[in-house]
């Protein structure tokens, strides 16, 4: 007799998600599906809009990572108009983007990731949330984390007016310079952020790496997939969030390809399955072989850990030292253990804070030369940035007046869709055993498998109490409800 288990709804999904697990007659796992039941259709309704409005329109794709869309859209717009933006504008954009990364990564780590490690995967459910984390580490540290978020929201607002749905990146640069006073305020906040980033890594050491059980869990096969890895790198192959080329390395760590934004169609293709509204990107050169890993499958991942795997290092000194320590500890590059993504996220958090300070201290950062009026005829362009959850591609085609005629988007989390699906399946396989009832334990294991990806999903959940609420319904093959398990 076959059974279907629906985990419905999963929240902390941006939009809505559901996991359908199918069991075979013996009660073991037959297959797993991560179903994304939502579509909004930005690719279509942006047609007819003026391309310069795209930084403000497309950030409504995601209110968790609006600045990623704001940046990708501005860069695609620059490319459409063939305009080179002033150096100070580029630095201001990267500064606000770095501050955004600090806030975004910190919220994920403390509200989403940390409860599993700091409070513990087996802790009472009522405590396995951000309040439980604060209770465990103390209010002083909780306040420090709140300060970190506030500081970086404010850095963004100095440059862009506000944090959620900013206004200031426009084709040719940015809408206003910053004053010396604003710069000084930014420097003060960036310095504080570096200290809190260092503290966060120390906390990870104390709580996770010094605990053998957690290290075993990170290294276990159930949370491991050998895939290709993607990430944006600078001219020295160091991790960069704002600009550069996209580098892809294989499961052995060897470079497969390094491409410019306008070459993305040569590298990435998308596969459609009829059981979900979301598409599955994969590497064209390797091909779509289904939901499997290894060198012959085009499935790739684009996560904090993927970016570290795809790069040769970090461009700032403290982050570089942490990068080396991560690979020394986990046995060299590339690291395939999905849960190590949490650690990689903290290395990136430190990099982003260091980079913010570096840029804020750049003498050019208060330059008033922040906008170049485009003069070329607009036609077509691609903009790529690293969103916190993966490489983000915006591709626009316009008429000669800059009115959009075609739009294509490959969004951060989407890159990882096949891999998240595989991770869920593997975790479920490891847990669902013939003859054993499906209990609450499965829920947290499955959660940990997808939570490492911070599927953009996360949204507001990043900062507040709670765990992914799950409802598992077990049906028999007649679709009769035979068992219901829920979190309370």
């Amino acid at each position: 007799m076959s059974k279907k288990i629906s985990i419905d709804p999963i929240t902390r999904l941006e939009g809505h998600g559901r996991i359908d697990l199918f069991l075979n007659g013996d009660g073991g796992l037959e297959n797993a599906y991560l179903v994304v039941p939502e579509l909004r259709g930005f690719e279509k309704f942006c047609e007819g809009r003026p391309v310069e409005e795209m930084p403000r329109i497309t950030q409504r794709i995601c209110g968790v990572c609006p600045i990623a869309h704001h940046m990708a859209a501005a860069k695609a717009g620059d490319a459409v108009y063939h305009v080179e933006i002033p150096s100070a504008a580029k630095k201001l954009r990267e500064l606000m983007y770095s501050a955004f990364f600090v806030a975004d990564h910190a919220t994920h780590f403390y509200a989403l990731g940390a409860p599993d490690f700091v409070v513990g995967p087996d802790a009472p459910k009522a405590e396995r949330n951000i309040l439980g984390v604060v209770k465990k580490v103390g209010k002083e540290i909780g306040g420090r984390v709140m300060q970190l978020l506030k500081d970086n929201h404010e850095i963004t607002a100095f440059i862009a007016g506000r944090y959620i749905h900013s206004a200031s990146c426009l084709i040719g640069g940015i809408s206003k310079p910053i004053t010396a006073e604003e710069r000084d305020q930014i420097i003060e906040r960036a310095k504080r952020s570096i200290e809190t980033a260092k503290f966060s890594l120390k906390l990870f050491d104390d709580v996770v790496l010094n605990n053998e059980a957690y290290v075993d869990m990170i290294l276990s096969d159930i949370f491991t997939h050998r895939t290709y890895y993607m990430g944006l790198v600078d001219e020295n192959n160091k991790v960069n969030f704002y600009d550069g080329k996209v580098r892809v390395v294989g499961p052995e760590g060897k470079e497969l390809v390094k491409y410019s934004p306008d070459e993305y169609l040569d590298v990435v293709a998308e596969h459609i399955e009829p059981w979900t509204y979301l598409k599955f990107p994969y590497l064209k050169a390797v091909g779509w072989k289904g939901f499997v890993d290894g060198p012959d499958s085009g499935v790739y991942r684009a996560t904090p850990l993927s970016r570290l795997n795809a790069a040769d290092g970090m461009a700032t000194p403290l982050a570089q030292a942490e990068y080396e320590r991560l690979y020394d500890t986990l046995g060299g590059k590339p690291v395939h253990q999905t849960l190590a993504t949490h650690w990689a996220r903290l290395v990136e958090l430190l990099y982003a804070a260091e980079r913010s300070l570096e840029l804020a201290q750049d003498p050019e950062i208060t330059s008033e030369d922040v906008h170049t009026i485009p003069t070329e005829t607009p036609d077509e362009g691609v903009g790529i940035v690293e969103a916190p959850r993966g490489t983000l591609t915006h591709h626009y085609v316009t008429d000669e007046h800059g009115i959009l005629t075609k739009v294509n988007l490959i969004v951060g989390t989407t890159n990882n869709y096949a891999a998240i699906d595989m991770s869920i399946k593997k975790a479920a396989e490891g847990l669902i055993q013939p003859g054993k009832p499906v209990d609450d334990g499965i829920l947290n294991t499955i959660e940990m498998a997808f939570r490492a990806y911070d599927p953009c999903l996360g949204c507001a959940t990043h900062t507040l109490p709670g765990q992914t609420p799950l409802l598992v319904k077990v049906y028999n093959h007649e679709r009769e409800l035979v068992q219901e398990i829920c979190r309370d």
């Binding site: 929240t11 279509k44 794709i61 209110g63 749905h165």
Partner: protein, 338 residues
């Protein structure tokens, strides 16, 4: 609520939205933790444990206030909206999507088929699976998988259920969210149907920028990237379209402080039903000509007037009934009942 010793029971839900409304709430930081001690949150998919069956099992009107963000895009969001209406005493359309459709509402320029066709048939990154469509019930080797139905058009919350209050903004700014929470805690709610968490005036009324000595006389509209934007002068005086004249105040002008024009996310001010129509008439009045041909010429320099004037309110406007086909033509379908 007033007159009761019990903590008010609140619910939060998101339908077709971006998550920015939830992020705004979390921007309250420590204030949210404070508020959390004064209320009982009984349903919040994004932050807390819940299941739909918990809501289904509740008595009717057991939730004191439900904050609903997101537009109605598919059968799932409609179902949950109706369920929450039944269980809630007070329903608040929270944020621009629930209030007036917001950016997702721009999809109403196209029919559902055009959207599906673009996403699954014609984008350039598709492989040989091109043309495969997600369908409501799919047989996979192991069994059946179901998907919610994608609706023909985006609807606002009030087009779906009765709404008691409307809180504008994309997203509502954090201080306004705090004001509204405090209002609820005191139990002093305004008259049903009111706009909350915003002001009655327009952004123009409260904007500190200089409007020019002899008023605004526009000879040509320019796009924001085509000019060097003066940070102290009214955008319209600079010839750059700004939606301030027909947009409700209350946001604190963060975009304008960022030196970019308003795009209207707080919706129409008091006394205005259709924000786009009001904007059109306000802008037309600023054009400096009596010559009909020149007027047409100047109006032609406004690119995408419908998508700009109705940037956030298309789903709540008469224009939403227009159906644009992939060949660019449009038709007005018969209004649906109910």
């Amino acid at each position: 609520m007033a007159g009761s010793n019990a903590k008010p029971k609140l619910a939060f839900y998101w339908a077709a939205s971006c998550g920015g409304c939830e992020i705004t709430v979390t921007e309250l930081g420590m204030r949210l933790v404070e508020a959390g001690e004064l209320v009982d949150i009984v349903f919040w998919p994004c932050l807390m444990d819940f299941k739909y069956s918990d809501v289904e099992a509740m008595d009717d009107e057991v939730i004191d206030v439900c904050f609903f963000n997101g537009a109605i895009r598919n059968s799932e969001s409609e179902h949950i909206a109706k369920l929450l209406r039944q269980k809630s005493k007070v329903m608040v359309a929270f944020g621009s999507c629930a209030h007036e459709g917001c950016i997702p509402g721009l999809a109403n320029f196209y029919d559902a088929e055009s959207i599906l066709e673009r996403v699954y048939d014609t984008v350039p990154s598709l492989d040989s699976s091109r043309g495969t469509r997600p369908i409501s019930s799919v047989q996979v080797p192991e069994g059946e998988i179901e998907l919610p139905a994608f609706y023909e058009r985006v609807k606002t919350l009030a087009q779906t259920i009765d709404v008691d209050y409307f809180m504008p903004g994309c997203p509502p700014v954090v201080d306004q969210v705090w004001n509204v929470f405090q209002t609820i805690l005191t139990g002093e709610l305004p008259e049903r149907g009111a706009i909350i968490g915003a002001d009655a005036k327009t952004n123009c009324d409260v904007c500190p920028r200089q409007k020019g000595q002899s008023g605004m006389r526009i000879k040509e509209f320019k796009r924001p990237h085509e000019v060097d934007l003066d940070p102290d002068v009214c955008f319209l005086t600079q010839g750059v379209l700004c939606c301030g004249p027909a947009t409700r105040a209350g946001c604190g002008l963060p975009c304008i402080q960022g030196n970019m024009p308003c795009r209207g996310c707080y919706g129409p001010p008091d006394g205005v039903v259709d924000q786009g129509a009001k904007l059109l008439s306000a802008i037309a009045a600023l054009i400096d000509t009596d010559n009909p041909e020149e007027l047409q010429h100047i109006m032609d320099t406004i690119v995408d007037p419908a998508g700009t004037f109705y940037r956030f309110s298309l789903a709540d406007s008469i224009l939403s009934e227009l159906k644009y086909k992939s060949d660019g033509t449009a038709s007005l379908p018969p209004r649906r009942e109910g």
